[in-house]
Structures are given as structure tokens and as C-alpha cells.
């Protein structure tokens, strides 16, 4: 190995940036090249379903990406960001990746940070008026469509976090919002049925309508969306449709290397891609086991995860390159927040794993007064959700998870 190995990071968002920063923080002085598909430096996505939809002048994508750009540590000033050219293929045995424009880049160490892209509904129909939300371009397109008038009829398909947040923001803007969700109730898979029903009630009181238990089977309209057809046959008139129906992992470029790409890219507990050498993965795309809970590898689509996994992955990669593989256990506390109207949800741990939900403080009828819920699996505390509790409480709530609990 040369004294200054070249590390290539594929992806151009939070995970990629944090990986570059953590490589520098870990003492890597050699070249770092970031190969990103988007034309922008890494920017922050959560505001796209919140303030960005609601406030200020609508900005063109480049200006918006600029406004949402992550602060980059000074140590990354010499990182070579090559943007707007996706990686399309790789040979991990030879240590080479190829971009769409045909250029080949060799590496000594590789970081996979290609994240997710939104799934689109598999229903044909007009192109105009249909939106997904992951990039500044998506956000710009949706905002431009919303300029067509006040009080538009908006259908949000999917009642996950991004769907519910978008619905809340659009309602705040005065639009007529209906959320359609075929499976379960809002965010139920993560926060459980009881809390889900309470949040749904709160959003309904603000005028958001929910249609649960049926999906979209067709679109009305020639060039522009005029409505959606539900599985029940009912038609909902719509000026704008937001499809928030989950994501697909950007792993196609890793095909042909014998990896497990069945759901993101499988890694070990130290974020090493299983089946490859000198390759680690970070962020939404990485499927890793977390000993805080058990030994089942899972992908975690929370904003906190790219930062946590990048710290571990960078240390692993540098250790492996130096022939001193680290082996201390990686057990990050997953956490996410979500803002919906006047509610702030803050979660620690993995509520989604629970088989039992306990309301510890407050009551489900009065979310604004503050609610604390704990989640348990086979009697073990696995998650906590706070709704409208003071941020002063968070440290304590998070600390309950900072120690790995022995696996039963």
C-alpha cells in the first residue's frame, strides 16, 4: 500500500460529506475524491418537506441548494468534489469505479454513500402535477406548481413521515389536502397504532383528510393531473399529487460484484461491505446490525445515521488500510425528528421494533401539552417518542440508550 492511499466516496450528500470529514478527522492526509450524481454540493434535505415548501421566495434549484448547503469542515477544503456525473459501474476486485461520462477512477479505499431515490407510483397518467420529494429540483417543481393558486386540491399518496410532513406544510399554506394510505394508519409502522391515531386526529382537526385502506389505481387528466382514482372506485379531484410512497436504494452501480444488495448494501457491524475489501458504506443505503437491539442488519433512514455511520466507517477504512482493523462495537442511538403543524415528534432508539407501547407522560388526546411514550420488545425498552416535550429533556431520553443492552 502506498503511504497516501486514495479514498473515493460515491454519493454526494450528507453521508458522503461526513465520510470525507471523518476520514480527515481520523488522520487521513491522502487524496479524497467525492463522485456525486447531483450537480450540487451536499445540502440538507429535511427542510424540503418543511420550511422550504412554506416560506420565502421560491428559489431556483441551484440557489436553493446553496442556501441549504451543509457547513463543510475546513479540513475538507482539498476534497475533490466531482459533481453531476453518477457512478454507473464498479469492479471492486480491481478497485475501479466508472461514471456515466465514461471516466474511470481507481481507489485504495471506497465509501458507498449513494442513499435512496423516491419510488414512483406504478400507475400511468399525465406527467404534469405529479411530484416526489427528495431533491432541490423536486422541491422547486412542487413549489412552482403550488404557485398556480391558493386553495389547490392536493392529494398526498403515502402517510409515512415525508407524506405527513408534506401534508401538514401544504395544509398550513391553505391548500385542501387529502392523504391516501393503503396500509395501516399514518406512520403506524414506526410509532404504533395508538400514537398514530392520536396524530391523525390532530392533523384532521386542522383540516387534513385521510383516506385509509385503499390506494391509487389510476390518474385522471390528459396532460395535467385532474384527479386520482382510488381502489374503491371513488374519484378524488386533484390539482397536485405528491407521491410519498417510499424509496429505492441506489445500488445498481455495485451490481456484478457478488454483494448482498437485496435491501441497500449489507455491511458488518463496523460498516464494512460484506463480500468486498477496503469498501465501507454509510447513511440511508447501509444495512448494518446494531447491537443496541439485536444482530439483524437493518437500514435506518434517519438524518442522524449518515453522521454516526460515517464516523465508524472512516475509522474502519483507515484502520483496515493501515493493517490495524478496529474491532470495537458500533452501537449508535438512532434518532429522528419530524415537524407536523404545531407538533414536533422526537424519537430515540427503534420504536418500530416494539410489541408494546406505554404512555409515560401526558395523554393521547392532548398532544400539544406534551407526550412521552416508550416502546418495548419482549419486555425490553427499545424506543422512546416525545411529542412537544422541551428539548431540555432530550439528553436524558437519549442517554437511556447509550449502553448496549445484552441480547437476550
Amino acid at each position: 500500500m502506498t503511504t497516501t492511499p486514495h479514498v473515493v466516496v460515491v454519493g454526494g450528500s450528507l453521508g458522503a460529506l461526513r465520510a470525507a470529514e471523518q476520514l480527515r478527522a481520523g488522520g487521513h492526509a491522502g487524496p479524497i475524491t467525492v463522485l456525486g450524481a447531483e450537480a450540487h454540493l451536499p445540502y440538507n434535505r429535511p427542510p424540503l418537506s418543511k420550511d422550504v415548501l412554506a416560506a420565502g421566495e421560491p428559489l431556483a434549484p441551484a440557489a436553493l441548494a446553496d442556501r441549504l448547503a451543509f457547513r463543510r469542515r475546513a479540513s475538507t477544503a482539498d476534497v475533490d468534489f466531482r459533481l453531476g456525473d453518477p457512478v454507473v459501474a464498479s469492479d471492486l476486485r480491481a478497485g475501479v469505479v466508472w461514471t456515466g461520462s465514461g471516466s474511470a477512477t481507481s481507489y485504495d479505499g471506497l465509501v458507498v454513500a449513494t442513499g435512496l431515490r423516491p419510488r414512483h407510483l406504478d400507475v400511468s397518467g399525465p406527467a404534469l402535477g405529479r411530484h416526489v420529494l427528495r431533491t432541490v429540483e423536486d422541491s422547486h417543481g412542487l413549489r412552482a406548481d403550488l404557485e398556480r393558486g391558493p386553495g389547490l386540491r392536493v392529494v398526498v399518496v403515502g402517510a409515512g413521515f415525508i407524506g405527513c410532513e408534506s401534508a401538514a406544510t401544504l395544509r398550513k399554506l391553505g391548500h385542501e389536502v387529502t392523504v391516501v394510505e393503503p396500509v395501516g394508519s399514518p406512520m403506524e409502522r414506526v410509532i404504533g397504532a395508538a400514537v398514530s391515531a392520536a396524530v391523525q386526529g390532530h392533523l384532521e382537526a386542522a383540516g387534513i383528510r385521510f383516506v385509509l385502506g385503499t390506494g391509487i389505481t389510476g390518474y385522471l387528466g390528459e396532460e395535467r393531473v385532474e384527479g386520482v382514482v382510488l381502489g374503491t372506485g371513488r374519484v378524488l379531484p386533484a390539482d397536485v399529487v405528491v407521491e410519498a410512497v417510499g424509496s429505492l436504494c441506489n445500488t445498481e452501480w455495485l451490481a456484478g460484484n457478488g454483494l448482498d444488495l437485496s435491501d441497500g448494501v449489507l455491511t458488518d457491524n463496523r460498516m464494512r461491505v460484506v463480500g468486498a475489501e477496503r469498501v465501507v458504506a454509510v447513511g440511508d443505503v447501509a444495512r448494518f446490525p446494531n447491537p443496541l437491539f439485536d444482530d439483524v442488519p437493518r437500514r435506518v433512514e434517519h438524518w442522524s445515521v449518515p453522521t454516526d455511520t460515517a464516523r465508524c466507517a472512516a475509522a474502519t477504512l483507515l484502520g483496515d488500510l493501515a493493517g490495524m482493523p478496529p474491532d470495537d462495537e458500533f452501537a449508535p442511538v438512532p434518532s429522528f425528528w419530524s415537524d407536523q403543524l404545531d407538533l414536533r415528534l422526537q424519537s430515540f432508539g427503534s420504536p418500530a421494533l416494539a410489541d408494546e407501547v406505554v404512555v409515560e407522560e401526558g395523554d393521547l388526546e392532548h398532544l400539544l401539552d406534551g407526550l412521552l411514550v416508550t416502546y418495548h420488545r419482549q419486555g425490553r425498552h427499545v424506543g422512546t417518542l416525545a411529542v412537544n416535550l422541551s428539548a431540555a429533556r432530550q439528553r436524558g431520553l437519549r442517554e437511556q440508550f447509550s449502553r448496549p443492552v445484552p441480547v437476550a
Binding site: E21, N44, P47, S304, T307, D339, A391, A392, Q394
Partner: protein, 63 residues
């Protein structure tokens, strides 16, 4: 080191207070208070606090 939090952006997420409790804290009203000139030995923690701020409101400068 000089720390500035853009209070027009800050949404009292309190993530900074988890990462660097010596520099950032959430008061009893649930709002952020911070030490604008922490010692340079705090740099690593302040960097981490700036990283984890969901609205990227924290700025760090050499003093």
C-alpha cells in the same frame, strides 16, 4: 474559537446540547443558551454540535 448560532434559524432541537453540553444548553423555557467563546479544547465537541444541528444554525470561527 468563536461560536455563533443564527437564532433566526435555530429551532431549539437541542441536538447541540447533547453533543457539547459544556457549550450549549437548553434552558428551563426550552430555549438554547450557549457560550460564544469556548476554549479551543472544545473544538472537537463544537464541530460535532455543528454537524448534528438539523437546521445547520451553528457557525464556528477562529478567534
Amino acid at each position: 474559537m468563536k461560536v455563533t448560532v443564527d437564532m433566526t434559524m435555530c429551532q431549539d432541537h437541542g441536538q447541540c446540547a447533547i453533543a457539547a453540553p459544556e457549550v450549549f444548553r437548553i434552558n428551563d423555557e426550552g430555549h438554547l443558551e450557549y457560550d460564544a467563546e469556548p476554549g479551543d479544547d472544545m473544538l472537537e465537541y463544537v464541530e460535532e454540535a455543528a454537524d448534528v444541528c438539523p437546521v445547520q444554525a451553528i457557525l464556528i470561527a477562529d478567534s
